[in-house]
Symmetry: C3
Subunit: 309 residues, 3 copies
């Protein structure tokens, strides 16, 4: 009797301690390649809100993006889970992990078009200098200068200070044009015992040519349409790349910032990032956008649809 | 024994008395119209600090602003309480409420000059899509496109996450030029049991033509002069509209940010907002300004006077 | 009696344990002069990462900086402790104090070259209007307009809200060109019982001509190289001057922000400032930089070396 009671108590404590998926530390392998693509920033050719049309000559260009692959770079795979954003190369693979995990990112440069060096530099995680991926002549090694046809494995650890959402991006000699061309993505790292959200939306603000894009696209109808339903535990992963500061805003919603204040608009500067979570309770068709007005007018705006339960 | 009990009861009553007006949820009706005005950004014609003169041809223009009205849009009323800023249309009416209140904003478009559509889009409060006021062809309704002569009532709730200071602004098809012309204002929502400050100052940073303005005015002598005395519980409502980030600074003062750090300068980006409170103890004539130097040089600076007790 | 003595001893030990260095409030005298210098933004003449060379005609100019002096402005002294940055005038003297201290900054204008007025305006500390140092015609006094050859003593108090890192800068009639020319520095104020870090690095982001500088220098090899070893308690003092927002990033490291979140990139706008501390555990050669890409490309990047223990 006594032992049973003790065991029951132990189980209860264990459950409370673990909550969310029993998270034994894992080694997560991710296969990524830099691949050339033809990209259209405004596939439907228009800014529906302002009633402006764009010709493909203004919106289509050749570039290089990060693409997820199966083991050994055998065949390309989805970059993002269904519903987290478009699966077409911007952003690069959503790399999910949990605090305590080790991550091995196997990177191959398949840029046969521009034949530039590329690399991956990761924020938020721990690594040794040989996995930094940042080019400095005289200091950095092959991790920072992966030439066409070559590979490199970045060895990362999701440490105790790695919970949250973080960007990764090219930091090779071609960094400037590669980031302008869309070579960036997100790491999403849950706390050791944190519940996975029901929906996770990836929003990366970045300029692209004359446009201001979300995940490489401009204007409603081209930027991702995110979907949830009342009762969903919704997470927004908000990041920025480039040279400008932005303010992320969602209509009809508010969230609690880490400092305890309520917000509905939040600044995000280059390489900054944050995750916002809320329990959805406001059905309807809403806008999400950067509230910097010129950015909004240049395309940094999208649609968020919440279904009734 | 009896006296003790009586004392305890008195204390209890005192505590209730303290918790700021017993806050039974109210329905607050606000009547607002979009009205054409002739606006002068630099009424005294000079930048006193740099010793530069401006001709009215550089500083006067026609625009549309939000104006508070009495019930049924009978006659115009003050937009701001005495001492919170100038009462001339920029910013629009200061809409005050308390968490738990419902707010009904009755809006009429009296823009007979430019004859543009207008709307009101509110941050921080809860509402249904029909009170969102944001124009998206195919989705939005009359709330987002109130034509000259028409009206709309926005139904808002100050929910548990609505305490604080928030912007509202035009989000109609004319949003871009209307915000540039001054169609914005502030909501100020107290917590359920939060004390009203003794003084509340509204500071909205926004560009206007070649100037950087506070409440639509540029340079000391034109921007609001705020007054308090030692011992006052002072609140600054700081907001920004437009496309730039700012840093709000007050000379000779510091405040505690929600994260517990002490600050005297704080970033505010487009549509962001925060309330700062302190117990005044530093008498003198002080400057408050945006610390972005080009903005300060283009007019985003004012005077704050603290009298000895 | 015995119990009382024991209690007293315990209190004494407790107090000693708390107070790190026993910090009796001090009066700290600092002697500073504005002195003309010839400045080279890119002493080694190159951007090593991009492989670009610069001619001295593009990088050398005459300017005025703050220089620390011995008592009575007898002879010039180091502006920064060894290892906190270069000792050459940008930034100005690192003014260290502890909450509770009074600070007397004895300022002399030795600008015999440009013969401009100068001043010092301090953030974060308490002072009376006569120590504000900000020029407003009709209001401000000699503190804000110290002419060549003249002196002024600024009387400051490190109050309870002054712990942290704060900028100071020229706020005289020549403010605009003087800040552009490098007239800024930092106050570093420890809490009453806070431990001094083992290493303190001063990073001031500011534009200078066509460059984006750290402590007045552009590109790796010119900007400060900071050194620490594993186990060091490291503090970064991060500040910005000018008209742009920045994002401070250190490779291979993360820190806990005051709101409890983990960060490796943080926005700092004009006159904002923050101190970051961590216990060093990541050996290697790392980059620290502003993550605004155009700023990084224009020179806002440096090297941080961590030795193994």
């Amino acid at each position: 009797m006594i032992r049973r009671a003790a065991t029951a108590a132990l189980i209860a404590i264990g459950a409370a301690g673990l909550s969310a998926a029993p998270a034994g530390a894992a080694v997560r392998h991710v296969w990524v390649a830099a691949v050339p693509v033809t990209w259209n920033i405004v596939p439907n050719g228009r800014d529906a809100i302002m009633g402006v049309r764009y010709d493909p000559s203004e919106t289509v260009f050749g570039t290089v993006v990060y693409r997820r692959y199966s083991r050994g770079w055998k065949h390309p795979m989805r970059n993002l889970p269904h519903g987290s954003g478009d699966d077409d190369g911007m952003p690069g693979p959503l790399i999910r992990a949990r605090v305590g995990d080790r991550i091995r990112v196997h990177f191959k440069n398949l840029d046969t078009t521009f034949r530039r060096s590329h690399s991956m530099h990761f924020h938020g995680v721990r690594y040794k200098p040989s996995s930094d991926g940042a080019y400095v002549p005289g200091f950095s090694g092959r991790d920072a200068d992966v030439k066409p046809g070559q590979t490199w494995t970045y060895k990362l650890t999701a440490g105790n200070q790695s919970a949250g959402v973080w960007p990764y991006h090219d930091h090779s000699p071609s960094m400037d044009e590669s980031i302008a061309g869309g070579m960036y993505g997100a790491l999403s790292i849950l706390g050791r015992h944190q519940h996975k959200p029901d929906k996770e939306f990836v929003v990366i603000f970045a300029p692209m040519g004359q446009f201001q894009t979300i995940d490489g696209r401009a204007f409603v109808g081209n930027t991702p349409v995110f979907h949830s339903k009342v009762g969903d535990d919704v997470q927004w992963d908000v990041l920025a790349m480039g040279s400008e500061h932005h303010t992320f805003h969602v209509h009809g919603h508010r969230w609690v910032a880490p400092d305890g204040t309520d917000r509905d608009t939040q600044t995000v500067g280059p390489a900054e990032s944050f995750a916002i979570r809320w329990k959805e309770k406001d059905p309807g068709t809403w806008l999400y956008h950067c509230h910097v007005e010129t950015h909004m007018m240049q395309g940094m705006i999208g649609i968020y649809r919440v279904a009734k339960r």
